[in-house]
């Protein structure tokens, strides 16, 4: 099993996430598996610039333990 961190936008199904926003998945799981668990359409995920560790990623990307999955960003400061 692997654990990935998912910062899910509002409206997603959060039932597969633990209290701190982590999701457990089988080894070899893909980003699309996370999207399915969140019930997020692939098109919407692309629009929201879904990324793994900051790199925009296609749904068929294989996940690694500890990956951080995010949907868009807001920079603060400068």
């Amino acid at each position: 099993m692997i654990r990935v961190r998912v910062t899910a936008p509002p409206g997603c199904n959060r039932s597969k996430l633990d209290e701190k926003g982590w999701m457990e998945l089988p080894d070899g799981a893909l980003l699309s598996d996370v999207l399915k668990a969140l019930r997020m359409p692939r098109l919407l995920a692309r629009l929201l610039m879904v990324s793994i560790n900051g790199a925009i990623a296609p749904p068929d990307t294989k996940l690694a333990n500890g990956d951080s999955i995010a949907f868009f960003s807001m920079i603060s400061g400068g």
Binding site: T7, P10, K20, N53, A55, S73, M74, G78
Partner: protein, 665 residues
């Protein structure tokens, strides 16, 4: 702590003596280096009542505990002093190359006291450590002076220079200290302190080795981070405008949501912080028209501040020391003002916002030019922008007239006269002389009717992030010992960092109604407490704000510290260390007569009167009430903001303050 050099220098500018001292290891064990070492030293050595621009004040240049160890994004240097802008604790920090240069001279910090009779600069390499005559550099701008001073170095390696421009020499209370051709440690008026001591610059050219305990582990962590950062770059087809659209969506959404800091990496690498401008205004984070306006007030917002307009001018990327991100850049401005300047550092969001939407000025070219003017003068663009906004609003309302402005038409968006005003502020000429010390001093001069338009907290102008948008930010503006700083914490930053994954008591964030953030409560107080504790850890390490914003999963600060120091400390223990640093800074303020509970946000920044349209329509922030929860979580008296004795004892501060640095023969 093996990654620290264990020594400091004390330089007395009045008599020219230089003393090297050994710092007890327990100091580093408890407060690291950076702001922590600085707070420990300044608390002990600046007497109460010391005039910030007087001989008793001390200004320190401190490196970070992780600087030079191979840890990435840990190359920031800190300036610590008693602030002439606020009368209390003052600090500023900057990237560039100066932080490792301090340690390569074999010390963690250099502290200056006294006042020199004539302008001097401090020079140090492996063999030489002395004060030198700076008369020929006095009166030159920071960029020019740095170039000349680099030529004066006789060390084995290229020197690194920290230098004031004319603003610091002129004792402008909003002046900073520059490095690397105009990058600036800008806040708290630190440049004026250097100017008051007739200290033009520090030139460091040492080449001593910086060690740490587990180099392999540090290397492994850096390799992991660098690999992730390398992959994170926006697709070529992606335009900067999309962030403005996202900002609009976020402004409309009734929900607040946690955002993952890792997603900041790609836009920062491509555009730098300029990508933030349109988004920030659209979502309500970026203040407009001296904090009294709304997005639609800014003419052609999206087109004027499209980050691709700035990117088109970029000639090269700029990376601070040991940074894989490279959010900086050098841009060509040779087409502006008859080619007066060939290039400038890519302006940061704070500068663009402060001289753009805050003034309803949509002439980007004027902002690029002002950016270089201020970098060369060594003047804080956040404070300067807020001060110009104040002057414009007062002029528009008839509280400052054309006679007082010397004929300048200080109208919203009048870029030509804004540029002229900035030049006057830098030179302390005409009305610029009255504005060169920030809005608080200006309002004292122009009268109480103008105070309503002077945006400052405890004397310092706020960063370009709206307190009505983010209550945690509002609390940090107020409760931070160096008030008004936007880099200490905010609700958005808390979500980005995901501290709950390293700290047992930090509450996780889930999507929630935005309105809930504006109701004072204990959970937000705990979150803001965790944030500030972590921020102090970052500053003690020499860490970068953008490493911090990546989140604890990307930039593994506590793992870096454990590896560098050979510790096995937990996240909770590290946040306790951060609390110790923050509490020391608070105690400094209290020792110097500052009452924390006396610092409030200006009414406008609290939403009084409320904005009648836009993303912050009717938004108010009950920052005073929320601050009580923050102080309670910190272990301070919730009413007065003064650390409780039991907290001070639990943090071992009394025994820490008994430690003394020993003179080395």
């Amino acid at each position: 702590m093996k990654s620290c050099m264990g020594h400091i220098l004390e330089v007395d500018l009045s008599d020219g003596t230089i003393v090297r001292k050994k710092v007890p290891g327990e100091v580093y064990d408890q407060v690291l280096s950076g702001k922590g070492l600085g707070a420990w030293y300044l608390y002990k050595h600046i007497p109460p009542g010391a005039e910030p621009l007087g001989a008793d004040n001390i200004i320190g240049f401190v490196s970070g505990a992780l600087t030079g160890t191979g840890a990435l994004m840990c190359g920031r240097w800190m300036v610590v002093t008693k602030s002439p802008l606020t009368g209390g604790w003052g600090d500023a920090n900057c990237g560039g190359t100066f932080s490792p240069a301090i340690k390569q001279c074999g010390v963690d910090a250099i502290f200056f006291k006294g006042i020199s009779e004539k302008p001097v600069y401090f020079y140090m390499d492996n063999e030489v450590c002395e004060l030198r005559d700076a008369s020929e550099y006095w009166g030159t701008d920071a960029v020019e002076a740095e170039q000349k001073l680099l030529g004066s170095s006789s060390g084995k390696r290229k020197a690194s220079v920290a230098v004031i421009g004319t603003a610091g020499e002129n004792l402008s209370l909003i002046s900073g200290i520059c490095n690397e051709g105009g990058r600036i440690a800008a806040r708290s008026g630190v440049g004026a302190v250097m100017g008051s001591k007739k200290l033009k610059a520090l030139v460091l050219a040492g080449s001593q080795k910086i060690d740490c305990e587990d180099k392999e582990k540090v290397k492994e962590l850096s390799k992991e981070l660098a690999a992730k950062v390398k992959k994170a770059y926006p697709p070529e087809v992606m335009k900067g405008k999309i962030y403005g659209t996202l900002g609009k969506v976020m402004g409309i959404l009734p929900l607040s949501m946690p955002l993952d800091g890792s997603a900041n990496v790609a836009p920062l690498r491509k555009w730098g912080t300029s990508v933030n401008t349109v988004m920030a205004v659209n979502m309500g984070d970026g203040p407009v028209k001296n904090w009294g306006g709304v997005p639609k007030d800014v003419p052609a917002l999206a087109k004027s501040f499209d980050p691709d307009n700035i990117l088109a001018r970029e000639t090269k990327k700029y990376h601070c020391y040991a940074c894989p991100l490279g959010c900086g850049g050098v841009i060509d401005i040779s087409d502006l003002n008859g080619g007066e300047f060939a290039h400038t550092h890519k302006p940061e969001y704070e500068t663009i916002q402060a001289f753009g939407p805050l003034l309803l000025n949509n002439k980007l070219e004027s902002i690029l030019y002002i950016n270089e003017l201020l970098n060369r003068a060594g003047m804080d663009s956040i404070s300067a922008g807020n001060t110009v906004a104040y002057a414009i609003e007062c002029f528009e309302k008839g509280l400052i007239d054309k006679q007082q402005t010397g004929g300048l038409e200080l109208k919203w968006g009048n870029d030509q006269d804004i540029v002229k005003l900035v030049k006057q502020m830098v030179a302390r000429e005409g009305i610029g002389d009255k504005l060169a010390d920030g809005v608080k001093k200006a309002a004292e001069y122009f009268g109480p009717d103008t105070a309503l338009y002077a945006m400052h907290v405890g004397g310092q102008e706020p960063g370009m992030h709206d307190s009505r948008y983010d209550t945690q930010l509002a609390v940090h503006y107020m409760t931070e010992p160096a008030p008004g700083k936007h880099t200490i914490g905010s609700g958005g930053m808390y979500g980005n960092m995901a501290l709950w994954d390293i700290c047992s008591w930090a509450p996780p964030v889930k999507p929630h109604p935005k309105k809930a953030d504006h109701i004072p409560n204990e959970a937000i107080g705990i979150a803001s407490c965790a944030t500030v504790c972590y921020s102090m850890l970052v500053d003690g390490s020499g860490g970068c704000y953008y490493g911090q914003l990546m989140g604890v999963h990307m930039w593994k600060l506590t793992d870096y510290l454990n590896a560098a120091a050979g510790w096995q400390r937990t996240g909770d223990e590290y946040l306790e260390m951060g609390k110790r640093i923050q509490t020391l800074r608070h105690m400094f303020n209290i020792k110097h007569g500052i009452k924390p509970a006396d610092r409030h946000l200006p009414k406008r920044m609290q939403g009084d009167p409320p904005l009648r349209s836009g993303p912050l329509k009717n938004a108010t922030t009950l920052a005073d009430a929320q601050a009580k929860y923050h102080w309670q979580a910190m272990g301070y008296d919730p009413e007065t903001g003064i650390p409780l004795d039991e907290t001070i004892q639990a943090l071992n501060i009394p025994s820490l303050l008994e430690l003394e640095a020993e003179v080395i023969a």
